[in-house]
């Protein structure tokens, strides 16, 4: 086994080592029920990171996901009463559409995605503030349970969110591995000029990547509002950086073309384990963020596969 062959496996090895380390300190951590509920808690973050993977996979970034999720919690809370289950369609369509706008700005108007998605995020924030009148909104509990109750209960000891996450992961994996879209996105990430030169309408596929990112951020927002039974224009704040970190730690670098949605699954779990481990290891609240940064540097230094990066920018 040379280093070169171990490299692609480092993300999940890191995950196992981290989990084992926490388990040694506190065996309670390793109880299946505990691990499952830990996993259930991070599903909104995971779904968001899943969408973000597509944007990063093509060498872009989507900074609108957090504002998108915020906006969706507001939309879901307001329109659940009148639309019932159709509110899910509205939410996903809104996410898809606004993602499409980011994609349009990036591909057709040559605005870097860093800026275009940030701007679309600003628009989402405005819409959320306008719709909600800057107040926290509540869902009708009975109606929420009737329409979306299946999202948040338990089946045995398994939180239902995990099924939703698994279904979306399978869908994304299918898109990535088995569709033309997935292949084109890989080509774009590996080398956009070459992809263009081989006759692909790169712009259209890139727009779709941003749209998928938007749609998944919307689903994350919907799940979030169902979990909290309400919405507010800032309720999902603090999700953006962890979502980016989850994608990067999993081994999908910002240069694109490497990694994928499975990596994001592992990356999200690594982030979750790091976060949870601080509780289990009794790290004081004031030290947590600094330690998170340091562990992050270590995790990224270990997991990132540099063999496909020509220069490290």
């Amino acid at each position: 086994m040379t280093m070169q062959r171990i490299k692609p496996h480092l993300p999940w090895i890191t995950l196992l080592v981290l989990t084992a380390m926490v388990g040694v300190v506190d065996p309670n951590f390793l109880r299946p029920a505990n691990l499952l509920s830990l996993a259930g808690d991070i599903v909104p973050l995971f779904i968001m990171a899943l969408g973000l993977t597509f944007a990063i996979y093509i060498g872009g970034i989507d900074l609108s996901v957090q504002s998108m999720a915020n906006m969706i919690t507001v939309i879901a809370s307001i329109y659940l009463a009148s639309l019932g289950a159709w509110v899910a369609v509205l939410c996903i369509a809104a996410g898809f559409g606004l993602g499409m706008v980011s994609g349009f700005l990036t591909t057709r108007l040559c605005v870097p995605s860093f800026i275009s998605t940030l701007a679309v995020g600003g628009v989402c924030f405005s819409i959320a503030q306008w719709l909600s009148g800057n107040r926290a909104l509540n869902m009708d509990a009975e109606q929420r349970n009737a329409v979306f109750g299946w999202m948040i209960g338990h089946t045995g000891i398994v939180p239902n969110e995990l099924f939703l996450a698994a279904a979306l992961l399978a869908l994304c994996l299918f898109i990535e591995r088995r569709t033309i879209l997935g292949r084109v996105l890989k080509a774009v990430g590996a080398g956009e000029p070459a992809a263009k030169a081989s006759g692909i309408d790169v712009g259209r596929y890139k727009m779709l990547a941003f749209a998928i990112s938007g749609a998944l951020a919307a689903i994350a927002g919907l799940l979030f509002s169902v979990k909290l039974s309400g919405g507010a224009p800032t309720i999902a704040n603090g999700f953006l950086l962890p979502a980016i970190v989850a994608v990067l730690v999993g081994g999908t670098p910002l240069t694109g073309g490497v990694g994928g949605v499975l990596n994001t699954l592992i990356g999200t779990l690594i982030v979750a384990v790091i976060r949870a481990s601080m509780l289990y290891l009794g790290v004081e609240a004031t030290q947590q963020q600094m330690l998170f940064g340091l562990v992050l540097i270590g995790a990224i230094a270990l997991t990132i596969d540099r063999s496909k990066l020509r220069t490290v920018k």
């Binding site: 093509i58 060498g59 872009g60 900074l63 700005l105 990036t106 591909t107 108007l109 040559c110 605005v111 870097p112 995605s113 860093f114 800026i115 275009s116 940030l118 701007a119 679309v120 995020g121 600003g122 628009v123 989402c124 924030f125 405005s126 819409i127 503030q129 306008w130 800057n134 956009e192 000029p193 263009k196 790169v202 950086l241 980016i244 970190v245 990067l248 670098p253 910002l254 240069t255 694109g256 004031t286 030290q287 947590q288 963020q289 600094m290 330690l291 998170f292 940064g293 340091l294 992050l296 540097i297 990224i300 230094a301 990132i304 540099r306 990066l309 220069t311 490290v312 920018k313």
Partner: protein, 321 residues
């Protein structure tokens, strides 16, 4: 040399034209926008982001990115306040030493980010993102989540002493812009930033020590973040672990709006200045013309897009990431 009205020239001056257009627009709607008081308000609000933008400009010109500024500014601000108080709490009584100390501290933090990026071969986006967490975390750790106040009249003169109607720190900021411009155009280091940004392999082949240039760039950016921290403290009279919050997106947006390309080698300090002014004029103008609060973020986004679209030469850019 006579300026000709060619495509290139129009696009080169587009950010400045956008700025001019915005000023005319807001003044037309509410003449109070151009009042001396309001201009001073804009300048004051723009000063700390301007310093951050200058620092990150060097990094972006190299084709890298730095997202550590929020952590760096928070940490420097907190350390500055603590050191200032420890050294007597008055600028006259030896506390001035805190200023060079904190500039060094900023340089060290930037250099550390550079080391993580260059030595561990981690792309700057992730290296600086993680170092940002470390910076904010260290600020929390040092303060224990508390606020540190400074009320030294001599130090607060940066804010309260007005020359020609503008606070002292605005004048200092102008000098620092000139300094940054000088570094960029008239030092080897400044030219090397462009060499690295224009093509790292080419720069390496022509004998530029790319690693050292990167390290120096991050350290230099760190110094500007430290200056931003000092201005923030002077403006607010206090420091805490969120002193640097929101500076990251504002600074990078400004730099890009001003016409610095995220892929490196294009634009520079003056673009950053125009960009910061555009973003601050938009922010202030929307308040002055009395738009409802909830519209501001969305409109800022739309206007930023318009500014970037107008100042990008789409014939030269084959694709955007």
């Amino acid at each position: 040399m006579k300026m000709k009205l060619t495509r290139e020239n129009v696009i080169r001056w587009a950010p400045a034209l956008v700025l001019l257009g915005l000023v005319v627009l807001f003044t037309a709607i509410n003449p109070a926008f151009l009042s001396q008081r309001n201009l001073a308000r804009i300048a004051l609000a723009a000063t700390p982001p301007m310093m951050v933008a200058l620092g990150v400009t060097f990094i972006i010109v190299m084709g890298s990115i730095d997202l550590s500024m929020e952590g760096a500014v928070s940490l420097c601000a907190v350390l500055f306040c603590l050191l200032f108080l420890k050294l007597g709490g008055s600028l006259g009584a030896g506390a001035w030493l805190a200023i060079p100390a904190i500039l060094l501290c900023g340089a060290f933090f930037g250099w550390l980010t550079g080391m993580v990026h260059v030595r561990l071969q981690i792309p700057s986006f992730m290296a600086s993102l993680a170092m940002g967490f470390v910076g904010t975390g260290a600020a929390v750790l040092v303060t224990g989540g508390d606020i540190v106040r400074i009320d030294d009249d001599v130090f607060r003169a940066l804010l309260t002493w007005r020359i020609l109607g503008f606070p002292l720190m605005v004048h200092i900021a102008v000098l620092l812009v000139l300094l940054a411009w000088f570094i960029q155009n008239h030092t080897t280091l400044g030219r090397n930033f462009y060499a690295v940004g224009g093509g790292e392999e080419l720069a390496h082949a022509s004998g530029v020590n790319v690693r050292r240039v990167r390290l120096a760039g991050f350290a230099l950016a760190g110094v500007f973040y430290a200056i931003a921290a000092i201005f923030q403290v002077a403006r607010l009279g206090q420091a805490e672990s969120v002193t640097g919050a929101n500076l990251m997106f504002i600074a990078i947006t400004s730099v890009v709006v001003g016409g610095v390309a995220l892929w490196g080698g294009i634009g520079g300090v003056l673009n950053a200045v125009v960009g910061v002014l555009i973003v601050n004029v938009i922010g202030n103008g929307m308040v002055v013309i009395g738009l409802p609060n909830y519209l501001q973020d969305g409109l800022l986004g739309v206007l930023v897009i318009v500014a970037v679209v107008l100042s990008t030469d789409r014939r030269l850019v084959s694709f955007a990431k």
